[in-house]
Amino acid sequence: MRTVIFRSIAPYLTSLMVLFSIFVLLRGHNLPGGGFIGGLIAASALAIYGIACGVAPVRRAIHFHPMAISAFGLFLGAGAGVLSVFASVPFMTGLWTYPTLFGVELALSSVLVFDIGVYLVVVGAIASIALALEERDRD
């Protein structure tokens, strides 16, 4: 699989896919997309990078252990749910805020935080399986 062409293209392809996955994640609330699909795209991006260039560069690139990313996602998701408790509304009720940044109105919400959590869980779990499978027996 490690042809020169594939190895050269893979980093760009991966970057583009990750970027696209974030785009899909963010637009999910109003258009097809969302955390789950975004996470799958990002996970396949990492898998492609791993197949092309080996697992070690991928692990260096994402810095954290994929399972840690996944766990952080779960933490984020649960935290987004708990957030509503402080606003005296039931668990997991969506909270919205509309700050204006550089003259553009942004719609931020606990729902978005939750979706990012889903994204991270999926990326982390799938990538950790894929990377572990790609890794050759080292010992």
Binding site: P32, G33, G34, F36, I37, S70
Partner: protein, 790 residues
Amino acid sequence: MSAAAPGTTFTLLMLPFLAALIAPWLTRRLGHNAAWLLALVPLAIFVHFLGFSSEVANGEIVTGGFAWVPSYNVSFSWLIDGLSLTFVLLISGIGALIMLYSGGYLKGHVQLGRFFSFMLLFMGAMLGVVVSDSFLMLFVFWELTSITSFLLIGFDHTREASRRAAIQALVVTGGGGLALLAGLLVIWNITGVSQISLLLILGDEVRLSPFYLLALLLVLGGAFSKSAQFPLHFWLPNAMEAPTPVSAYLHSATMVKAGVYLLMRLNPVLGETIWWETILPVFGGATLIVGTLLAIRQTDLKLMLAYTTVSSLGLLVMLTGFGSERAVAAAVLYLVAHSMFKGALFMVAGLIDHEAGTRDVTKLGGLRKAMPVTFIAAMAAAISMGGLPPFFGFLAKEEIYYALWATDLWSLAFVATAVIGNGLMFVIGFAVAIKPFFGPKVETPKHAHEGPVLLWLGPLTLAAAAFVAAVLSPYTHQLISSPMASAVAGDSQTVTISLIPHLGPALTLSLITIVFGVIVYRMLDRARDAMARLLAAIGWGPDRGFDQVISGAVRLSGAVTRVVQPGRMDFYMTVTFIMIAIALFAPMAIYDEWPDMPTWPADAQFHELAVFVIALVGLGAVIYARDRLTAIVSLGVQGFAVALLFMLFGAPDLSFTQFMVETLAVVILALVMTRLKLTASDHRSTQEKVLDMSVSLACGIGFALFLLSVTQQPFDPFISEFFAAYSKIAAHGTNVVNVILVDFRGTDTLGEIAVVMVTGLAVLSLIRVRTNWNGVAVADNDPDGREEGR
């Protein structure tokens, strides 16, 4: 003394558990001297409960507590009458002495702190058992005593004998506890009350119920296993593997009496029936005789005492079963006397072991000069055990004979049983108290001398208490015996027996007992040899039976596991999918709800048909693929075609996800294949292929029919309309699918992502399992080795 303050009572009941928390820390700071501080815990309980004695002596019943789980009508409540008060005083009083004794006995032991902790936990549990008013609380504490006794028996966990004894005790007493739970539930169902204080007046209702016998047998299962009644007695002598303080406390004075406590407590409820008055005396009497005969056989001081404990428990059960006023009084007196003399004798046995280095009675002698205090304590306890004046045991034995004496055959049989049992216990008691101390001085493994104060304080105090209690018998009866006898009998009782002997059958029987005891004592060595030969001739005992039951259970589960889990992945998969097919077809077949076949849509577009064809080509390629990689990729082609169909029919989210899942599935399957080093092509025989194909066809067709029948049902659009209507208004999103996932049903998604993460962890750890020590890969899915051969 504010005996009425429920807060104080509750705090004191919880105090042992709190003390257990800090005991290790305290021991690390103070060493074995922590015993002095920790003994204050049972002492405080003793003093507090002594404050109830005047009320209880007046025949009052003190109850208290609070609602624990109000919705199930479960309360944390206690009941203090003569019976529970006596037990509390015994447990806490002897407990304080035992804490001190433990400090001396295990001085310098690395795990002394842990030992104190376990002892305190046990103490708390045992106190809980005897004061519990609610059934649930009684059961919880009952099982807690089993668990803590498991920890204590197995304290010396590096020795296999200890571990076996601990497991045995847990299985027998814990199992009995389950029977007790069932029995209590039956009683609860009969009467509708779950509190002992209310139950005590509903005795007739229980006795007349058709479920009476069931309740009785279940309760007896719990009581007999805990109190080591024949043939479940074997765990108690084995429990002597525990350090001696444990034997002295649990297996003489407290835990083994929990069963007797239960019988006494339920005597007003379950007693006075033909079943009760037959089963209890027969089993009790059998236990009495078997216990003493086995005790004769032993040479180990602790084992001799352990078997006499078994027989004493038998005697108590027998007396409780008679149910007459005098029998109840006798049982009460004997229970108190036994706790004192047996606790003392066990501590003496441990003291001898500690100082002389052995507790084999044939290797001991002439210790009288070296250990005078121990000797005094041992003699006093043995005199009480032998039933001689002026100790409390004498009162108990006289009362027993008063209670049993009658001239009908049934009574005479039990009189004979009691005389033989008491005579043999007399023998053992004096064998423990005399043999190590008199005669020529025998060389012992350690140079024997008197033990430290921590060690002899306990036995001496108990022996002295037995003396004082007997001399001041009017006060003892007023404070302890009469209220307890009243509580056991269910109506007011007065115990009057004193040290002054009256001429009559009881005194005659006492004399016969003593003469019989002295004769057997003089020929103890020959009796021991005879018993040893007899037991060797029998060759099988319940102890062996326990091992057979356990190994039988292990073999059975092994056989079942080999059938259910043969370790072949393809077998699991086949079974799973056959079950899925059955689950799909069975409802449709049973209710005859086959869906109508859909008609071919006349307006099918060319590009839609093309996608169908691609999917079919992909499927065909899977079947005819020459190697696995091609098959995997072909499966992906089929999946992509389905994703395209989703796209064409207006489900972009679904289609999007399907694309990603298919891509990842192909990548991961290919990786798994290389990882597991599977051969490139399929190796199944034609027969297996046909089987697999029919199973997968059945599943596929089943799903298709299932989906068809689902879509042919009238569709209630309420939920989808709700989501569509409120998606923008309530959740500020126009993508309904996403809004459902992250907002409307966000908590579901939270659960799902938790599952995704845990699955990831599990898969990761499966992948990480490497070749193990035998050079066999754990993740080997080819147990027959068919692939290696190629």
